[in-house]
């Protein structure tokens, strides 16, 4: 049993050594990009409620090698628990290393279908090596075995990567724990566009302003953010290169410029302009704002475009029927098709990665809630129960939804599983979180 697949370990070690180098480059780039490199003062507290329809019982043993081994296991447990799809089996006193032969029957007796364990070693150069294995107690065999290397600062990220592997090996769905989110933090008169890990930790400031910032949108490769900044006295759409901090106004016409949305290939931005009267949808070239082309033509409001996953159509909000509803239109024009019919206020459309589910913010009994609409059947599920839930976005695997909720009179970051069963809030101790949006899979 001991090192039953040593070749696997060494092979993956090599490949992950390469990726660790990429991370280092990214880290340096991030330090450069944030200019002042001011760590945010915001601290997050996580609250979780509800349980998933199906919960896999897993044991995540503390990795050997104090204190980092214990911290890594804690990050993995927190990630898996937040998804609502896992139940943690007690591992107290297990004292496993990555080389310990696993007594599968014993762990199965404790109720665990899976057991993850590992070892953290600090090398003489100060870098860490993290080795992990995942065992299946039913099939009595190893499902995964990988080694990572990185600096102390990268240990959290490595833990998220391990959680992603465990999640994917067990559920068959790609994990999103190592992805990032963007949101606007308002503290007093200051607006900060922040980027944080998917668990809300490690927030970094990409832009600080005395004027509002809204509608951040990730490029499909995660290298750029488009957003609306009021810094020039009115809404203008910028594209911001995260690695270099270079930013460019890509839509700055007479009137308002807002609601940027990326095409799936990252080449085109849909934007909303009022240069010809009321809000209408246009597309521009994402790199320099050239090639302006109008997509919708209505006498009233068309706004909040979002591309379908195939990139051939746009979902958007329009009040052409007298109340705001979601429509779909092909990029080649044609007559828009109305998509939402429940209630008199459905805005902020977001389509799931598989194109089958539409999220909206819907007004019901004076409250704003996130609704999930099955596009094939038309069946609707109200995912949230807040008073003013706004700005929903899907995780890149479609399993979770991030949104802004109001709690105790303040805007906080909130998450809900796509089936509505598990909710979590990430409370900021200082300031208001607005306009959250979930980034793509890391590349």
């Amino acid at each position: 049993m001991k090192f039953d697949r040593p070749s696997n370990i060494s092979r993956t070690r090599q490949s992950y050594g390469f990726i660790a180098k990429q991370w280092l480059v990214l880290l340096i780039a991030m330090l450069t990009m944030f200019g002042l490199n001011a760590p945010s003062v915001a601290q997050l507290r996580v609250d979780i409620s509800g349980t998933g329809a199906q919960q896999y019982p897993v044991a995540i043993a503390d990795f050997s090698g104090e204190p980092a081994g214990k911290q890594i296991a804690e990050v993995i447990r927190a990630d898996l628990t937040r998804s609502g799809q896992f139940r943690m089996i007690n591992t107290t006193g297990s004292a496993l290393t990555v080389d310990t032969p696993i007594a599968y029957d014993e762990w199965r007796g404790k109720g665990a279908d899976f057991i993850a364990y590992g070892t953290v070693l600090r090398g003489s150069d100060g870098r860490y090596e993290v080795k992990y294995r995942l065992g299946d107690t039913v099939k009595k065999g190893q499902l995964d075995g990988v080694a990572f290397t990185g600096t102390e600062k990268e240990l959290r990220r490595i833990a998220h990567q391990i959680a992603d592997r465990i999640y994917e090996k067990i559920t068959g769905i790609k994990g999103v724990f190592a992805t990032r989110i963007a949101y606007v933090l308002k503290q007093g008169p200051t607006y900060e566009l922040q980027i944080a890990d998917a668990d809300g930790q490690n927030p970094q400031v990409a832009l600080r302003s005395r004027e509002p910032i809204i509608s951040p949108a990730w490029s499909p490769d995660g290298s750029r953010l488009a957003y609306v900044s009021f810094e020039s006295g009115k809404p203008v759409v910028y594209v911001h290169q995260l690695a270099t901090s270079k930013r460019l106004p890509v839509a700055n016409y007479k009137g308002n410029n807002s609601a940027p949305a990326w095409s799936p290939d990252g080449n085109t931005l849909a934007v909303v302009l009022t240069r010809d009267g009321l809000s209408q949808i246009y597309v521009v070239n994402a790199t320099d704002g050239s090639g302006l082309r109008r997509i919708t033509r209505s006498p009233l409001i068309d706004t909040e475009p979002t591309f379908s996953p195939d990139g051939r159509s746009i979902y958007f909000t329009s009040d052409r029927s007298g109340s705001p509803q979601v429509y779909q239109v092909g990029l080649d024009g044609g007559e828009p098709r109305r998509v939402t019919f429940n209630g008199g206020y459905n805005i902020s459309p977001r389509i799931s990665p598989d194109g089958k589910t539409l999220l909206t913010v819907t007004r019901r009994d004076g409250t704003f809630r996130v609704a999930s609409l099955n596009l094939a059947t038309g069946s609707e599920n109200l995912l949230t129960e807040g008073r003013d839930d706004q700005s929903p976005s899907f995780a890149p695997n479609g399993m979770q939804v991030l949104y802004a909720a109001v709690q105790g009179g303040r805007s906080v970051l909130a998450g809900v599983s796509s089936d509505g069963r598990v909710r979590q809030t990430l409370s900021v101790l200082n300031g208001e979180i607005r306009e959250p949006t979930w980034g793509p899979f890391s590349q």
Partner: protein, 162 residues
Amino acid sequence: MSRIAKALSIAALAATLAACSSVNLDDKAGANGTGSADGSGILDPFNPNSILAKQKSVYFDFGSYTVSEQYRTIVETHGKYLVSAPQQRVVIEGNTDARGGSEYNLALGQRRAEAVRRMLTLIGVSDTQVETISFGKEKPKALGDTDADYAENRRADFNYKR
């Protein structure tokens, strides 16, 4: 021409225009006459005593995007001034209350600003003088969440550019 002389001649022009239309007795915008001692009759948006500086907001009912009767005179006064000062540019800034999504409110604020612009166009103000923008719900004047706060924020403002 000095700034004051210019402003006075514009005030006289506005008074002439006002005389041609029927005006309510309690109509603040039209009833101040010319050359009042406090300067409120001076049509100069950069003079804090001028009616153009004092009355630069148009308020809207909940869910409404048309200029109500109550505020038509204010828009007309600004419109007549702009006709008389064809070089003067103005930005109409629309706002909404805090309820609902950021982007949809941005679009609704624009509808309010556009309603004001359309009135100005009818009066004869050139399109090149007017830009309409919206702050949506992002820059509220009243920060509370009472009905009075919401009403204060459903507004379009004249913001003159020097």
